[in-house]
């Protein structure tokens, strides 16, 4: 029989001999210091309890596993098969249990916080879920705060996240499919979907893509997203992430597929429409008129964030006639002593902002304030006072970067586009900005996610879905027919497997 080693053990069946099994496990794991082996004799049969230190709860294993095992009494029958039969059929011990027949499954369960019971004479191991590793408590998500909505966010443990979703959607149509992916990390992922809203083909396509990932380890959602995204060369994506269980559930109800990944609090949602970058859970907790107002503010903020510095540079350099006379005089007065061309000034200010922002992210909290003082007051104020940068440009850039935080999901493409817009505006004026806008527009319009155009329901236009785009109509209107993503105009949701074709 093939002897398993640390590189090749998946699919290798267990031995009947306890000693050989233990020897193989030690060979596979290299006698790792956190591997615990507890040999015991149960009803005259030699057994061994194997687990990983730190992955199990000692109180749980003592109460639920050790004591019941020690109390097993099956009479005069000392056969290992009888012991296994008794454990399988007459003892519950833990809710989460399984049975492994190969080393791959055994090692994976052991590393997932299961206690493995090996019985001498049986080529099968019993696995009992007694997880007790340290986890972060459920907290409010950092990047997706809100005022009136729930303050719970996903955590790093996928099963906890599963419970957060189930608690909100007590429907038998909500399905979870759990399986491991990646060669070395064997990361658990759960594909979540509503069985009556998502075509089976789409779910199977997504699972197929996940299982085909050849990465050695999955340490975050960013590792998985590219494999689900069809927009390879685009700045924008048809895949999104969220930390919020309530937002996640809302998307599942609209017919999307959600993916929970062990080890990261960010859940992936696919397909994801461009317009959803402007929707937040708070919109649904406000009055419709205010929600509509905030939505329009967000759209305007997005355009400001991308185009304002570029348009300012283009207009001031090539098209000053755009400004009203009084404003033009003020701008000219402010710019006349600036030593650098306007485009260079704008790029320098944007770069300084990016450096300060990145520094603020990486620094410990107790020195973060110092960064704000250095970046904001010293650099900003000193640069303006010294005449290196003009005030109007600083206002335009500051407004643009502040506006970009209104739509945090689009922060990455907005940042890059802002730079490009300034450069093309500085070289070619409004022609450059217009050409950039055309290319970005066609680029976004060409992206599809799971057969759904990401510009839906704007283009292709779906009237019913527009109830929740620029405005958010009241729930008395929204309750008349749910907005299923598969029913949108131009949607090809799993009907002919187009997700695979791309």
């Amino acid at each position: 029989m093939t002897k398993p080693d640390m590189l090749d053990f998946k699919g290798v069946p267990l031995e009947k001999s306890l000693e050989k099994n233990l020897e193989n496990i030690r060979r596979i794991t290299g006698k790792s210091s956190d591997l615990l082996e507890n040999p015991i004799e149960i009803n005259g049969v030699k057994c061994c309890l194997v687990c990983y230190e730190g992955m199990i709860s000692t109180s749980t294993i003592t109460e639920l596993i050790l004591h019941p095992l020690m109390d097993i009494d099956i009479g005069q029958n000392h056969a290992p098969e009888a012991l296994l039969h008794h454990v399988k059929n007459h003892m519950l011990m833990t809710i989460d249990r399984g049975f492994s027949e190969d080393y791959g499954d055994l090692i994976r369960r052991a590393m997932s916080g299961f206690a493995i019971l090996l019985i001498d004479g049986i080529a099968e191991a019993c696995a009992f879920g007694v997880q007790g590793y340290a986890v972060r408590g459920i907290d409010e998500p950092n990047g997706e705060g809100n005022v009136k909505g729930a303050h719970e966010g996903f955590v790093e443990v996928v099963r906890t996240n599963m419970s957060l979703v189930r608690r909100r959607m007590k429907s038998p149509l909500l399905r979870f499919d759990l399986f491991p992916i990646s060669e070395h990390s064997n990361t658990d992922v759960i594909v979540c979907y509503m069985a009556d809203r998502v075509p089976g083909k789409t779910v199977e396509s997504i699972k197929k893509r996940l299982k085909s990932i050849k990465l050695e380890t999955i340490l975050g959602s960013g590792y998985v997203e590219p494999f689900l995204d069809n927009s390879k060369l685009s700045l924008f994506s048809g895949v999104s992430v969220t930390e919020r269980p309530d937002a996640f559930c809302g998307k599942l109800l609209e017919g999307r597929v959600g993916i929970l990944i062990d080890g990261t609090p960010y859940a992936i949602i696919v397909p994801y429409l461009f317009i959803e970058n402007f929707q937040t859970m708070d919109d649904y907790n406000m009055r419709p008129y205010y929600a509509a107002f905030i939505r329009i503010i967000k759209f305007a903020a997005f355009l400001l964030a991308v185009f304002l510095p570029g348009i300012y540079v283009a207009a001031a350099t090539f098209h000053p006639e755009m400004f009203r006379y009084g404003l033009m005089l003020k701008l000219a007065e402010a710019e006349k002593d600036a030593p650098l061309p306007l485009m260079a000034e704008a790029i320098i200010v944007l770069l300084i902002y990016e450096v300060v922002r990145e520094a603020g992210l990486r620094l410990p909290k107790n020195v973060g304030g110092a960064v704000s003082i250095v970046g904001g007051l010293i650099i900003g104020d000193a640069a303006v006072s010294g005449g290196l940068i003009s005030n109007p440009l600083l206002v335009a850039v500051a407004l643009a970067v502040t506006a970009s935080f209104v739509v945090p999901n689009l922060n990455q493409p907005v940042t890059l586009l802002r730079f490009i817009c300034v450069i093309v505006g500085g070289f070619w004026g409004f022609f450059g900005v217009s050409a950039l806008a055309a290319v970005v527009l066609v680029n976004i319009c060409s992206i599809e996610s799971c057969g759904i155009p990401v510009t839906a329901p704007l283009s292709p236009f779906t009237l019913k879905a527009m109830r929740d785009v620029f405005v958010r109509l009241g729930f008395r209107t929204l309750e008349k027919g749910h907005a299923d993503i598969g029913n949108m105009t131009g949607a090809n949701y799993g009907r002919n497997g187009r997700f695979d074709e791309q």
Partner: protein, 347 residues
């Protein structure tokens, strides 16, 4: 370009209309003035032109899968070459008109080759993204176009003067046929309907006639607005449509010319990209190439388009009314007659 299009993609009837309409609106925006033709004559010319387009479209709408009639034989390839040259010429014309607009209005010293290369590359990239991206973006852009146009008209309505339409001093001396010919020569986008039939999810008849009808309404509306607001100034302005922005009063901007330019450039890029896409499909059909080699067709189409932009004047001749009539009516009519004859013979 049929259901087995090399580039794939399906678009709806509404997207077909919006794509054709956007191409048409671009030509309207870059329409040169003609001081010999009164506004009433222009309105009449638009109506007559629409009627003629509706009539010459009859052979096409009677055909199903018209482009599949261009088989791999000598005549099929010859026709593909004709269509390819036409679409490259019209794409070149769009790029030339965009450059002409930029040069006359904003950038007097702009380098022709540099601007045309930039536009050709951008159009080639947009074409590469596929018909669906172009169709959806045309719908968005058309909405923006209508909003901006209505806003410009409303901002200028205080300066309107309808006396230009009641000008009894204007003497009609037979300008109508010339005006109709000029309008038809600037309607090359209807030839694209032949190939949009392959992308469209439905029969081309309804979208095509919807396009002709909407185009007539919008054209007449804009001519009326230009006449009422700009009046005789439109006769001497380089771009009469743009003259609306000259008269628009608003509290935000001093002038709105640059806004008009943005709309024009974006519309031009989408239009030219659309024509390049069809030209690339035809090139692939001529040389019978598929898959990765298809990618080569876009730069090739862009290069040829660029050469035509440099050879100024020829592009305009190649996409005038006579070639339009040949490609839009005569060839489909021949295909229709050949199919009917084949059907009769097979009986």
């Amino acid at each position: 370009m049929n259901s087995n299009s090399i580039f794939g993609g399906r678009i709806s009837g509404a997207q077909t209309v919006s794509l054709l309409l956007l191409c048409s609106m671009f030509r309207l925006m870059t329409m040169p003035p003609d001081e010999n033709v009164g506004f009433k004559v222009q309105l009449a010319a638009a109506a007559v032109s629409a009627l003629i387009q509706a009539i010459i479209a009859i052979p096409l709408v009677m055909l199903t899968c018209p482009e599949s009639g261009l088989k791999r034989g000598f005549w099929g390839i010859f026709c593909r070459i004709l269509y390819c040259i036409f679409f490259l010429a019209i794409a070149a014309n769009v790029i030339l008109e965009s450059f002409g607009f930029l040069e006359k209005q904003f950038y007097r010293n702009a380098g022709k080759v540099g601007v045309c290369i930039t536009l050709a590359v951008l159009c080639g990239y947009c074409a590469y993204l596929g018909i669906e991206g172009l169709a959806r973006s045309s719908a968005v852009m058309l909405t923006v176009f209508f909003i901006v146009t209505i806003a410009l008209i409303l901002l200028s309505v205080g300066r309107s003067d309808l006396s230009v339409f009641m000008d009894r001093s204007f003497v009609y001396t037979g300008q109508l046929p010339k005006a109709v010919y000029k309008d038809l020569s600037r309607s090359g986008e209807i030839v694209a309907a032949i190939f949009l039939a392959g992308y469209s999810k439905e029969n081309i008849r309804k979208p095509l006639y919807t396009f002709i009808a909407v185009k007539l309404i919008v054209t007449c509306g804009i001519i009326f607005a230009v006449g009422a607001i700009a009046g005789r100034f439109a006769y001497i302005a380089d771009f009469p449509f743009m003259s609306l922005s000259d008269f628009a009063d608003n509290v935000l901007f001093g002038r709105t010319d640059a806004v008009f330019m943005a709309i024009l450039i974006i519309s031009g890029i989408i239009s030219a990209a659309f024509y390049l896409l069809i030209a690339s499909e035809l090139i692939c059909g001529i040389f019978d190439v598929k898959d990765k080699k298809v990618l080569l067709s876009f730069p090739a189409a862009a290069v040829v388009c660029l050469l035509l932009t440099i050879a100024d004047g020829y592009a305009g001749i190649l996409c005038s009314f006579v070639p339009i009539l040949l490609l839009f009516t005569v060839i489909p009519l021949i295909i229709l007659l050949l199919r009917r004859r084949k059907k009769e013979v097979s009986r």
